[in-house]
């Protein structure tokens, strides 16, 4: 590679770093002061692009000046939307548990995901070309898009202004003080609420700015939000939450790595990103410039009652349900059976997530990864190794637990929101690999025609029923086991766990792998049930579905995810009959759960039944 080409690649990398920095610095600043990880941050980035598109079109911005004005105006509009979201929703969220904060901000991104195509349509939108910003310049014999240089300059200007605002203004002083000690700032007479609103607005403004700037490089499209938030998470995990310097350094690192990676090892690009993240976390779990987090107790479940032996009525209900499902094929037709199979698969998936979320107290946003790995293990096994139904079904949980071992080893080094972000980013990396590795996975087209000709639907139904019953029995059992007890200690009192000789990370890893094994089994079953596998099996959407199922049911016992999964599945099917705006409905539903039913349906009912006894 010539010097010119290398330089051009390096500059392209810097231009990508500019976007990464603008997105992640806002995320990081908001977290530093409010301790909330804003999952909707990527969606605001996307809104920036769409609003920018609208403005440049409306004003027919054909010269550079009007183009830049449109970009800045788009950022201001997005910032105003962010301010509205902070005032209406976020303000109610600062006191609720982490999981709900993450879910609520994710719900905002779901709303945005569904509202944008209503307004702008599903197609990718290309902003009008501004001649003076297009084209390239010659750099040691290689051509370099001139717009990339503008991007770098824009990020540099923002960095400079941000630096001045943070170091030279009263507002910046308050931000830095509140990032270190919020309570003391309050005790000195500063109303933090407006500080939070200001920082949130600024963060969203920067995300919108990055999105609008993106118009000069690519079209506005509906996938850009998710990829932006993934990369931003990688950046803040590497750089350290709350650190502007960290965001800058990590953005440059990732931007350059991607650009040069594309040039030198096009296939390994995403794997490289994973390796860097692994290397940084292995040495510094809180990121390059982050502060180590204290081992804090997860307060979410501290008022849960002690586990009880499975009660007689519940056991009776389970047996009755099992009997009912055994005779179901006599009544139900093929379609009915396939619905029941789908519900059972959802139950196994939600049940496996329950183990991590309930007794484990760890919030994962990447559980779909292990479901998808199981599904793809079946598909690839059948397609390339000619595996039988049985051996493919064994391979699924095995493959999922191997991935869980590697990813879990990394993830259990952190806890709280870091765990959520890391599991999410790891799952997205796997998703991207599957999506891009067209030759092997079929990319977006998936792998189809997986149903073995020798397999009868009735046999498959009973296999699924047996495996579901067994999985739920095991997943419901584990909390009652020695491991389950240790796991609950790591959740409720990490300091106590260490003092009585429990290796917190190892216990968490063990539970993580077991849970992923069952998620993989569910994925394997789903590959057969559908006869096909698509990248959506690994998508964040599926992880969120799982979280909503568990939360709808409640995290206090295995009955929660079972009821929640069934309810969720049937509701989804019903709603999809009337509208395809499912994400809109789901987003509203999540916000309702968070604000009204924080204990889940089963949890709320059982709390009511317990009445005053536990208080």
């Amino acid at each position: 590679m010539s010097l010119g080409l290398f330089l051009a690649q390096a500059l392209t990398g810097l231009a990508s770093a500019a976007t990464l920095f603008l997105v992640s610095v806002g995320l990081s600043l908001v977290f530093g002061i409010t301790r909330v990880v804003n999952f909707a941050h990527g969606a605001f980035f996307m809104v920036g692009a769409y609003v920018g598109y609208t403005l440049t079109n409306y004003f027919a911005a054909s010269d550079a000046l009007s183009y830049w004005l449109c970009v800045v105006a788009a950022a201001v509009i997005v910032g105003a939307i962010g301010m509205a979201v902070e005032l209406l929703l976020m303000r109610r969220m600062y006191k609720v548990p982490e999981l709900f904060q993450l879910l609520a901000t994710f719900a905002v991104s779901l709303l945005i995901d569904d509202i944008l195509p209503i307004i702008f349509g599903p197609e990718d939108l290309l902003a009008p070309r501004v001649r003076s910003l297009r084209g390239g310049i010659d750099l040691f014999g290689a051509r370099m898009p001139v717009y990339d240089l503008y991007m770098i300059a824009a990020a540099a200007i923002v960095l400079l202004l941000l630096y001045i605002a943070i170091t030279r203004t009263r507002w910046g002083v308050l931000i830095r003080a509140a990032t270190q000690d919020r309570d003391m700032v309050g005790a000195l007479g500063v109303n933090q609420a407006w500080l939070f609103t200001g920082v949130f607005t600024l963060g969203v403004f920067l995300a919108g700015l990055a999105g609008a700037l993106q118009l000069g490089r690519t079209s506005a499209n509906l996938g850009m939000g998710t990829s932006a938030i993934t990369e931003a998470f990688v950046v803040v995990v590497i750089g350290g939450m709350g650190s502007v310097t960290g965001a800058l350094v990590a953005a440059i690192l990732i931007g350059e790595l991607s650009a040069l990676g594309v040039a030198y090892f096009p296939q390994l690009n995403l794997v490289l990103m994973f390796l860097i993240m692994a290397a940084v976390l292995a040495v510094r779990p809180s990121g390059l410039f982050g502060k180590p987090e204290a081992l804090t107790r997860q307060h979410e479940f501290s008022d849960e009652p002690p586990l009880r032996a499975i009660s007689r009525p519940l056991a009776f209900a389970a047996i009755a349900l099992l009997a009912l499902l055994t005779i179901a094929p006599a009544v139900l037709g093929t379609y009915g059976l396939s619905v029941v199979v789908d519900v059972m698969i959802a139950i196994v998936f939600a049940g496996s997530l329950y183990l991590i979320l309930g007794p484990g107290g760890l919030v994962t946003f990447g559980h779909a990864c292990y479901f998808g790995v199981g599904a793809y293990a079946v598909a690839l096994g059948i397609r390339y190794a000619g595996l039988s139904f049985a051996s493919a079904l064994v391979l699924a949980p095995l493959a999922a637990s191997l991935f869980a071992l590697a990813f879990g080893w990394l993830s259990v080094r952190v806890s709280g929101v870091y765990f959520a972000m890391l599991t999410f980013a790891l799952a997205q990396i796997v998703w991207s690999v599957v999506f891009q590795w067209y030759d092997v996975t079929g990319g977006d087209n998936g792998l189809i025609g997986l149903w073995p000709t020798s397999l009868s639907p009735l046999v498959f139904y009973f296999v699924t029923l047996a495996l579901t019953a067994g999985s739920i029995a095991i997943l419901g059992w584990i909390p009652h086991s020695a491991l389950g007890y240790a796991l609950r200690v790591t959740r409720d009192s990490p300091a106590r766990a260490a003092a009585i000789g429990i290796d917190v990370r190892l216990v968490r890893l063990f539970a993580f792998v077991i849970a992923s094994l069952f998620a993989g089994l569910a994925g394997g079953l789903s590959a057969f049930a559908k006869g096909s596998v698509f990248p959506t099996a690994i998508s964040i959407g599926r992880s969120i579905d799982g979280l909503v199922m568990v939360l709808m049911g409640g995290v206090e016992s295995i009955a929660g995810p079972v009821v929640g999964a069934a309810m969720f599945y049937l509701m989804q099917t019903e709603i999809l009959r009337y509208t395809d705006r499912w994400r809109l409905v789901l987003g509203v539903l999540i916000i309702l759960i968070v604000l009204v039913f924080p204990k889940g349906v089963v949890g709320s009912i059982s709390q009511r039944l317990r009445g005053e006894e536990s208080r």
């Binding site: 009263r170 002083v173 308050l174 830095r176 003080a177 270190q180 000690d181 309570d183 003391m184 700032v185 309050g186 005790a187 000195l188 007479g189 500063v190 109303n191 933090q192």
Partner: protein, 237 residues
Amino acid sequence: MTSSPLLEVSGLVARYGKARVLDGLDLTVNRGETVAILGRNGAGKSTLMKCIIGLITEKTGSIRFNGAEIATLPPYKVSRAGIGYVPEERRIFTELTVRENLEVGRLRGRSNTRWPLDRIIEIFPNLKRLLDRPGAQMSGGEQQMVTMARTLLTGPDLILLDEPSEGLAPVIVDQMAGMIRDMQASGLSILISEQNMRFASKISQRAYLLERGEIKFSGPMQTIATNQELYHAHLAV
């Protein structure tokens, strides 16, 4: 002149988790008065301070300041009502310079005629040469001055000093007594918690003896300082 006390705490109960740290506390501070809360470690002195400023919300009972109920207000409103809080751990913003630490306390929009910066630097002359020093690079005594100055900038009528002498060398403690006298001379009311009785007795008129969350005795500082029985029962080793 109104005759009602500046600060009036009654029936204050505070819990830390399940432990009752304050158990039905009554206390008053009059205008222009300096009142000491004496007691050993763990008696509940810091908890009392945090309850008044509003950092502890899990509490019952009444806290009236200038006649208005403030027990349910968030810290920033208590501060704006005119109460300054100097915490035991000092809680300097270590990543900010001294000047910036002071800036956090400076009230904007509300004129602070009683405590302009020059006046504060008169009381704490050492601050002048420290202004650009990072908060992390200061001795305990310097930190104590910064946190007191920062609090004065909020323009308080009453200041809560939580164990200001703790961990300081005797010379510095003496200096601090002088600074507190300067503050008193400006009409500031002070509620000070101390384990160091000698120091407390130099600056306060009245005192409460706090033990295990309850007031065991209250009266003129003189009485406590000279009453051996009280002293041995509640303070001495």
